[in-house]
Symmetry: D2
């Protein structure tokens, strides 16, 4: 299962090479990740506020295949590639719509932290949503 999020490239996201600055792909991954988690029936904001659970990034990786340009429509396709009670890995494919082309792909790895910033495990009731324990 993967979740598609559309966004339009902002002027702010370009750099003087005339293409999207490389760190902004990680911002788009975050946008896709939030929508992916939402589509799975969780709401990241509620996990933070009600449960005191934070999804803390431990690794990011991005391979840049083709530059994204200003005003292009872009699709971020996000999926949970691995998940246990303690960690989640998301995979991303970032494509332009016109022309239809893969621009970048990557992953981010996360662990759950509690309010004291200690690694913790995801409460049982949320695990099924991430496909844990199946």
């Amino acid at each position: 299962m993967s979740q598609q999020t559309r966004l339009r490239v902002r002027y702010a996201e370009t750099d003087q090479m005339g293409v999207v600055y490389y760190a902004n792909y990680l911002v788009w991954m975050e946008v896709g990740r939030v929508e992916c988690v939402r589509a799975l029936g969780l709401r990241y904001k509620d996990l933070e506020q009600s449960e005191g659970l934070f999804l803390s990034v431990v690794e990011s990786n991005c391979r840049y295949l083709y530059p994204a340009r200003y005003d292009q429509e872009v699709i971020v396709e996000t999926s949970v590639s691995k998940a246990s009670s303690r960690m989640v890995e998301f995979g991303y494919k970032i494509s332009s719509v016109e022309p239809e082309r893969l621009l970048a792909e990557g992953f981010t790895r996360h662990i759950w932290l509690n309010r004291e910033w200690k690694p913790t495990s995801l409460p049982q009731k949320y695990r099924a949503a991430l496909g844990i324990g199946r």
Copy 2:
């Protein structure tokens, strides 16, 4: 009294016009403001953590005279232009070093908020630093 802060234009701060994206001048103002407050003997981080005081922005203004370019050294000259126990206004002049040229000027206006996000007044002991009550 004014405080000068130097910074070098980052690639990330440019846009596809080949110059610094306009919102980034507000980031530079923040960098200058922090240094200005520090030079006055306050430390913004401590005000936040120990006193629960937040300097919340209520207005920003910037006039753009000349574009800043990648790798240029830039000086942000910051001063307190107005201050009372409840509000502070900072003025900024942003210049390039080579060539020596005024790039932008502006101001930001702030009020003090407490931990409950209510407007509050700056404790007496910090006022002299901002020239209040003279």
Copy 3:
């Protein structure tokens, strides 16, 4: 005539006060401005590429009334508040959807530049779209 653009607050746009960082309102203004220009029948990307016309900002102003928060849906309402053949001023109202509340308002002022970065006037054929000459 005003143009409404919706966006959702990104995690990247928040700061450690737990609200949207003040410079990001200018990014949202840019998003609104592009959509406003598009709704008027112009396409900013084409003006840049085909005509060599750049809308260069000369002033920005923002009054911050209420903080925007992560994951909120936000509406940027943009209109052309003044326009001549040489300059354009846009006005912005930024509101949250839930609760329905005005968060910020402001304006940006721009001049047209040609490929040589010299002030120029907007070609006749584009003026009606901006309501110039009526």
Copy 4:
């Protein structure tokens, strides 16, 4: 040989978790990379403008060990980990000064592009600086 660059964490770089947003480490890598290239006797700005050579990123990777916080002084230690006439890989170690602690490490991989955005090889005269051909 490695190059150390110091920077201070900006408020703009934090997010609502109270730490530096994960994409900003890639911005810091870029700051370190520019200084590293400069220390090697090249100037990235000149390569772009005089030679029409662009260092285009093809992969980024970052492992996040410990969060960076607002106002901390941070050292980015950058080195060329691999280089040929067609590609360069930089390695990064990002540490806080107080306390002295490794915060993140990663790499970026780049290829040289010419003005037509085609992969090209670095002119002979610049190769020694990057240790190519030794």
